[in-house]
C-alpha cells in the first residue's frame, strides 16, 4: 500500500459531509479534489469508517465519468467533443494534441506527467468551437496548427492565474453614473471578458470616470463575445463586440467626460470570476462599436422574446436588489400570501406551460399530481443536469438568473407542499454552482428561503447536488437515484416520481427553464403566456444556437417560429457561404431536420413528427461539408457510452448500431447493413427501459429517412461530404503557388517542400489531419 497517502483528509471530509450512503458522491468528489484522483487507500478507508459499503463505492465511483482511479498529470486538458466542436473538427484537435504530447495507443498522460488529456462533452462555449480547456483556461477557435502554440502559451501564462477576485454583492449606481456591462457568462469569460473586465476597472480608476463596471449574465450574443455594453447616464446604450482589453481606456474616454470633481471611484463591485481568458492573440481583432440598430444585431435580437431570460444582459446575476428592482419575488410574495394551491395550479394549467426538459409534459398537471398525493413529506427537484453535448441553456439560466429559478421553486414548493428541495447541477458547470450557492445564501439571510418564508408559514430548504458526469442522470429517475447516492440507473415508470420519487416520497421534478418561466407567468398572467406560440406549445423556448452558423448564441424565441427563421433570420445563415444542409435539434435524443423542412415550426408535436425532438434545446446547424453518417456515428458513440448499461436493447443495441455506423464510415460496410441498422434502431426505440434508449435511435432514424443516399454512398465506399477520413484523399490542385506553408505544417511529413512549385501529398503518409487545408492561402488543397 502506498505509504504516501495521508488519509487525514478523508476524516475531515467525512466529518463535514456525512457518513451515510447518500453522501457517497459528495465524499468521492471531495476526495478527488484533494488527491486529484481516488487513491485505493482512501476508498478502503472510506468504507471502513462510514456506513458506505465497498459495493456502493465501487459501483458509484466507476459509474460517473468524473471519477478517476489513476493519478493524473499536473494539468488537465479537456478536449471538447460536444456536437458543435465535433462538426468543427474536434477530433483533429485531439489528434494534434496527442501528437504534441507524444501520446500513443490510448495513453492520456504525457511522459513528463505534465498534462492529462481527456474528452469532455461540451464546455458550454459552443460558439467558440472547437474548444479546449486547460485547467481553468478555455481556448477557442483552435486549429490543429495552433495547438502547439496553445500549450506553449498556457505554460507561459497559465501559471500566472491570479486566482479569484473577491465577491461583492450589492452595487449602488447613482443616476449620473455610466454603466459598463460586461458579460461574464461562461462563453464570454472563455473569449476574454475577464481581461476586459479588469482592464475596464483599471481604466475607470485611471481616468476617474464616473462609471460602474457591472458583470452581467449571458447576453446571448455569444458569436460576438467578448461583448461590452456601455450605458451613458442619458441611458443610451453603446455595444462593443469582440473588444480588446487595450481599448478599455479609449472606450471610457470616448463616452464619459472626466468628472469635474475628482471623486475617486473604487471598484467595490468585484465579482466572482472563475476563469481566465483566452489569450488575446486568439481572436482576430475585429473590433467595432455596434448598436442595436445595426442590422445583424437587430435581427439577432428582434425575433427574440425574453421570458426565461428576462432582463437579459443588464442585471447582475447575484445582485438581489437588482432582481427585486426588476420585479423579482413579487410573484412569489403573491403566491405565499394567497395560499390557494389550486388556484396556482389552475394558472399554470391555463398558461399551457409544458416541461422544458424535453418531453414536454404539461407542468400544471404534474403539479396537480404531486399536490394530490397522500404523504406528509414531498420533495421538489430542479433538473439542471443538461447533458446534451451541444446545449447550454440551463447553464446560462442558472448562471445568469439564479434568483428566478429559486423563486420558481418556492412557488412550486408552496403549491405542491414540499419543504425540502434539491438543485441537481451538472458537474461541468462550476460557475452555475457557485452562483446558485451564493444566491441561496442570500435568500436564506433575507428570509426568502428557509423556515417560515416571509411569515407565510411555508418553509423550503434548498440544497445543491453536483452531478458527477453522466448524461443519463438528466433522466428523472436516474437523477433521483443519484441524489440518493446510487448509480444513476433509471427505474421503470410508472411509478412516476410524482408518486414515488426521492426516498419513495412524492417528488416534483422540473427542468431549470420550466421553473424560470413560472414567476413571469404569475406576474403577467397565464393569458399573456398562452398568447404566444402554437395550439399545443405555448410561450417561448430557449435554444443554444451553434454549429456552422454566422451568429451563434443563446436565443429565446416564441414557440411557433420556424426552424428556417431561426437559422436565416436570427442566425444569419451559414457562415462562410456554404449551403445549409440540416439542423440537428435535441442532441442525442433528437434528429436532423433537413433544410427542405425548414418551415417546420418549433412546437413539441411538429418537431416530433419530423423525427426530431424539442429536447432540451440544443440546435446545431450543419452545412454541406457535414457528413450525416458521421454525425449519426458521433451521436451513437455518445449514447452508447452514456447508456447506464442496465437494459439489453440500449446497452448492446446502441453499441451494435455504432459498430455498423463505424463500419460505414471506414468503408467496411457490408450488404444488409442499412437494413440491420434500421431494424436495430426500431428495436432499441421500442423496447428500451428509459428515455435514453427510447430516443437514442432518433439520430439514426431521421438521417436514414432524409439522407439515405449518403448511407448508400458510404456502403459503396464514398463520403460525399468529404468528412470520413478513411474514405477521402487529400491532394493539391494547380492553384498551388508553391508557398510551402502546407509542407511546413504537415505533421506527418506527407508533403515535400518544393518552393515555387506545385506541392504534392503522399497519400500513404497523409493522416488527413486537415492542417494543410486550413493553412493553404490559395485554397489549393482538395478533398476527394
Amino acid at each position: 500500500m502506498n505509504q504516501d497517502v495521508d488519509l487525514k483528509f478523508v476524516d475531515e471530509a467525512i466529518d463535514s459531509i456525512g457518513r451515510g450512503p447518500e453522501s457517497v458522491i459528495a465524499l468521492l468528489q471531495a476526495i478527488q479534489t484533494h488527491y486529484r484522483y481516488l487513491p485505493p487507500e482512501a476508498l478502503e478507508y472510506l468504507c471502513d469508517n462510514t456506513d458506505i459499503t465497498p459495493a456502493r463505492v465501487t459501483g458509484v465511483s466507476t459509474f460517473y465519468t468524473q471519477f478517476r482511479h489513476k493519478p493524473v498529470g499536473k494539468h488537465m486538458i479537456g478536449v471538447c467533443h460536444g456536437t458543435a466542436c465535433h462538426v468543427k473538427g474536434a477530433q483533429n484537435i485531439h489528434d494534434a494534441l496527442d501528437r504534441h504530447l507524444g501520446l500513443t495507443d490510448g495513453e492520456d498522460t504525457d511522459a513528463d506527467e505534465l498534462f492529462t488529456v481527456h474528452k469532455v462533452a461540451c464546455l458550454g462555449c459552443c460558439t467558440l468551437a472547437p474548444a479546449v480547456q486547460i485547467d481553468h483556461l478555455t481556448y477557442g477557435h483552435l486549429t490543429p496548427d495552433t495547438v502547439g502554440k496553445m500549450l506553449h502559451d498556457f505554460l507561459a501564462e497559465g501559471d500566472k492565474h491570479p486566482g479569484k477576485l473577491g465577491s461583492g454583492i450589492g452595487i449602488d449606481v447613482a443616476d449620473d453614473m455610466a454603466e459598463v456591462r460586461i458579460g461574464l457568462g461562461s462563453c464570454c469569460v472563455a473569449s476574454g471578458s475577464e481581461k476586459i473586465y479588469r482592464a475596464m476597472v483599471d481604466a475607470v480608476e485611471r481616468t476617474n470616470a464616473r462609471a460602474v463596471i457591472k458583470p452581467v449574465g449571458c447576453i446571448g450574443m455569444c458569436h460576438r463575445t467578448p461583448m461590452l455594453e456601455l450605458v451613458t447616464p442619458d441611458r443610451t446604450s453603446h455595444l462593443y463586440a469582440k473588444v480588446d482589453p487595450q481599448d478599455a481606456e479609449a472606450i471610457i474616454r470616448r463616452h464619459i467626460r472626466p468628472p469635474g470633481m475628482l471623486r475617486r471611484f473604487t471598484a467595490t463591485l468585484r465579482q466572482t470570476v472563475d476563469s481566465l481568458l483566452t489569450d488575446q492573440a486568439w481572436g482576430v481583432a475585429l473590433r467595432r462599436s455596434i448598436d442595436a440598430r445595426d442590422k445583424p444585431v437587430s435581427d439577432f435580437l428582434s425575433r427574440q422574446k425574453h421570458i426565461a431570460t428576462e432582463c437579459c444582459g443588464y442585471v447582475n446575476p447575484v445582485d438581489i436588489e437588482e432582481y427585486i428592482a426588476h420585479g423579482g419575488f413579487e410573484a412569489m410574495k403573491g403566491i405565499l400570501a394567497e395560499s390557494d394551491p389550486e388556484a396556482t395550479i389552475d394558472t399554470i394549467v391555463a398558461s399551457g406551460l409544458r416541461g422544458r426538459g424535453g418531453a414536454g409534459f404539461p407542468t400544471g398537471r404534474k403539479w396537480r399530481e404531486v399536490a394530490g398525493t397522500d404523504s406528509e413529506t414531498r420533495y421538489i427537484v430542479c433538473n439542471g443536469d443538461e447533458g446534451d453535448p451541444g446545449a447550454f441553456m440551463d447553464r446560462m439560466i442558472l448562471e445568469s438568473y439564479p434568483y428566478r429559478v429559486i423563486e420558481g421553486m418556492v412557488i412550486a414548493s408552496k403549491t405542491v407542499g414540499a419543504r425540502q428541495g434539491y438543485l441537481y447541477i451538472r458537474a461541468e458547470y462550476p460557475l452555475a454552482v457557485r452562483r446558485v450557492r451564493q444566491a441561496i445564501e442570500v435568500c436564506m439571510e433575507r428570509g426568502l428561503l428557509g423556515g417560515n418564508i416571509l411569515d407565510s408559514g411555508h418553509s423550503l430548504t434548498l440544497k445543491i447536488m453536483e452531478g458527477a458526469g453522466a448524461f443519463v442522470c438528466g433522466e428523472e429517475t436516474a437523477l433521483l437515484a443519484s441524489i440518493e447516492g446510487r448509480r444513476g440507473m433509471p427505474a421503470l415508470r410508472p411509478p412516476f416520481p410524482a408518486h414515488c420519487g426521492l426516498w419513495g416520497k412524492p417528488t416534483l421534478v422540473n427542468n431549470t427553464e420550466t421553473f424560470a418561466v413560472v414567476p413571469w407567468i404569475i406576474r403577467n398572467g397565464p393569458e399573456a403566456f398562452a398568447r404566444m406560440g402554437t395550439e399545443t406549445s405555448k410561450g417561448t423556448k430557449v435554444f443554444s444556437l451553434a454549429g456552422k452558423i454566422a451568429r451563434g448564441g443563446l436565443i429565446e424565441v416564441p414557440m411557433g417560429i420556424t426552424v428556417g427563421q431561426i437559422v436565416e433570420e436570427i442566425g444569419g445563415g451559414i457562415a462562410g457561404g456554404k449551403a445549409f444542409k440540416a439542423v440537428q435539434i435535441g442532441g442525442p435524443s433528437g434528429g436532423c431536420v433537413p433544410a427542405s423542412l425548414g418551415d417546420t415550426t418549433v412546437d413539441y408535436e411538429a418537431l416530433t413528427s419530423v423525427g426530431a425532438m424539442m429536447g432540451s434545446g440544443g440546435l446545431v446547424v450543419l452545412d454541406e461539408s457535414d457528413c450525416m453518417v458521421d454525425i449519426t456515428r458521433y451521436f451513437l458513440e455518445f449514447t452508447q457510452d452514456q447508456s447506464c448499461g442496465q437494459c439489453t436493447p440500449c446497452r448492446i443495441g446502441t453499441r451494435r448500431m455504432l459498430d455498423i455506423l463505424t463500419r460505414l464510415c471506414t468503408g467496411e460496410g457490408r450488404t444488409g447493413d442499412l437494413e440491420r441498422l434500421d431494424e436495430l434502431a426500431r428495436h432499441v426505440k421500442q423496447s428500451s427501459l428509459c428515455g435514453l434508449g427510447k430516443t437514442a435511435p432518433n439520430p439514426v432514424l431521421s438521417t436514414l429517412k432524409y439522407f439515405r443516399e449518403e448511407y448508400e454512398a458510404h456502403l459503396e465506399g464514398r463520403c460525399p461530404a468529404g468528412r470520413c477520413k478513411a474514405l477521402i484523399t487529400y491532394s493539391i490542385t494547380d492553384d498551388c503557388i508553391g508557398c510551402t506553408l502546407c509542407a511546413q505544417h504537415c505533421p506527418s511529413d506527407a508533403i515535400a517542400m518544393t518552393p515555387y512549385q506545385k506541392h504534392q501529398i503522399d497519400p500513404e503518409k497523409c493522416t488527413r489531419c486537415d492542417a494543410c487545408k486550413t493553412i493553404c492561402p490559395q485554397g489549393a488543397v482538395r478533398i476527394d
Binding site: 456502493r56 427505474a491 457510452d641 439489453t648 446497452r651 446502441t654 451494435r656
Partner: protein, 349 residues
C-alpha cells in the same frame, strides 16, 4: 383488484401484482432472466417484454404492475420478434461455448472434454464408457486442431489422449478397411464393441477389414495422460443443460451471429475454490449483485463501469473468493447463464 386481459384471457389479481405473476396464474409462461421472486427484478434482460395495447413501447412484464383494463399480449409477432432480438443482442456479446470447440470439431460429436476430465481423474473406464460405440478418426486431429488451449500455448494432445483411452480400455482396436486409401483408418475407440463386433461393423464398410489390436504399452502412461488432461480448460459450459440463455435462444430461433461484431476475450476466473466465474457469459442481469447485497457479503459483487463496458466484479478490486463467502451457492443457482457455476459441475460426467 385490477381486472385485465392477458392474451385475451381475463383475470383478476390483487393490487400490486405484476403482469408476469398475473400471466402465470393463467398458466401463461413468460420467459425471464434477470428476475427471481427472491431477488426481484433488474429490469435488465427485457426478454420478458410484453405489449400493452395503447402503449407505443414494450414493457418488462416482471416489473410492470397489472392495472385495471390492461390488455396484454405476451406472444404476438411483435413481442416474439423483440424477445428474439434481445436474445440475439445478448448472444452477440457472449463469449463462451455451450459445447466445447473440440467436441464440435469431432466428427462424431463425442463429449471430448468430459472424456478428458475422466482421464484427469484417473477414471479410464468412464472415459471409455463415454466414447462407447463412437467411430472416429483415430488420430483425433480434428478436435485437437480446434482446441482452444492452442490459442494460449499448445493445444491439449487430444489425439494421444484418445489413443491412451483406447489402449487402456481393453477391447479397443484399430480397424483398417482393405480397400481404403492407405492411412485411412477407423477405430473403435473403446468400450462396447468387442473385436468381433468391430469386424462385423467393418464388413459394412469394407469386404476385408484388417483389425489391429491396440497396444497398451505405447503412448501415454497414466501419469502422463492425467497431467496432459489437466491442461484442458473445460471450454464446454458447465450450465449447458441448465442455461436460460441457451434454452430461450433455441426456443425463439435466435441466431447468435446476427449482430456479432468483435468479441471480447474469453476469461475464466478461478480465484474462488468452488465457483468459476466466466465474465464473457455474464448478461449483467444483476441477480448476483443483489443477492450478495441481500446476504450482507462484506465485499459484495458490484457493477463496475457503465454502458456497454459495464461488468460485474467484486468491489474494491478484491478477489472473487472474498465476494462470495456466504452467497456462492445462491448466486450460482440464480445466475441465468454459465457465468457463475460450480467448478466441480461438469456436464456429461
Amino acid at each position: 383488484m385490477p381486472k385485465l386481459l392477458i392474451d385475451n384471457q381475463e383475470i383478476q389479481v390483487p393490487e400490486g401484482t405484476t403482469v408476469l405473476d398475473a400471466a402465470a396464474r393463467l398458466g401463461i409462461e413468460i420467459p425471464t432472466m434477470c428476475y427471481l421472486p427472491s431477488a426481484g427484478s433488474g429490469t435488465s434482460c427485457m426478454v420478458c417484454a410484453v405489449a400493452i395495447s395503447g402503449k407505443e413501447n414494450l414493457v418488462p412484464a416482471c416489473a410492470t404492475k397489472a392495472e385495471d383494463g390492461m390488455q396484454v399480449d405476451t406472444r404476438g409477432e411483435e413481442v416474439l420478434a423483440a424477445r428474439r432480438t434481445n436474445l440475439e443482442l445478448l448472444l452477440s456479446d457472449h463469449v463462451g461455448d455451450c459445447i466445447a470447440p473440440c467436441q464440435m470439431a469431432d466428427p462424431n460429436k463425442a463429449n471430448i472434454p468430459a472424456v478428458i476430465r475422466h482421464i484427469a481423474a484417473g477414471d479410464t473406464a468412464s472415459a471409455a464408457e463415454l466414447l462407447a460405440g463412437n467411430l472416429a478418426d483415430i488420430d483425433g486431429a480434428k478436435p485437437q486442431r480446434a482446441c482452444r488451449r492452442g490459442r494460449r500455448d499448445e493445444p491439449v494432445a487430444i489425439d494421444l489422449l484418445l489413443k491412451y483411452v483406447a489402449a487402456h480400455a481393453g477391447r479397443a482396436a484399430t480397424a483398417q478397411a482393405s480397400d481404403a486409401p492407405a492411412g485411412h483408418r477407423f477405430s473403435v475407440h473403446m468400450g462396447k464393441l468387442s473385436e468381433t463386433e468391430l469386424e462385423r461393423f467393418m464388413v459394412g464398410i469394407s469386404p476385408d477389414p484388417q483389425i489391429i489390436p491396440a497396444d497398451p504399452q505405447a503412448g501415454y502412461t497414466h501419469a502422463e495422460a492425467a497431467a496432459e488432461a489437466k491442461r484442458c480448460m473445460h471450454c464446454d459450459c458447465r450450465k449447458s443443460d441448465n442455461c436460460k440463455l441457451r434454452d430461450y435462444a433455441e426456443a425463439c430461433g435466435a441466431k447468435s451471429a446476427h449482430f456479432r461484431t468483435t468479441r471480447r476475450e474469453f476469461i475464466q476466473n478461478l480465484e474462488h475454490p468452488d465457483v468459476i466465474y466466466e465474465p464473457g457469459k455474464c448478461i449483467r442481469c444483476g441477480l448476483c449483485v443483489r443477492i450478495t447485497e441481500q446476504e450482507g457479503e462484506p465485499c459484495a459483487l458490484s457493477f463496475v463501469g457503465r454502458g456497454f463496458g459495464v461488468r460485474v466484479a467484486p468491489s474494491l478490486d478484491r478477489d472473487i473468493s472474498q465476494a462470495l463467502q456466504k452467497a456462492a451457492i445462491r448466486c450460482v443457482e440464480a445466475c441465468p447463464t454459465g457465468a457463475l457455476a460450480m467448478r466441480s459441475k461438469s456436464n456429461g460426467s
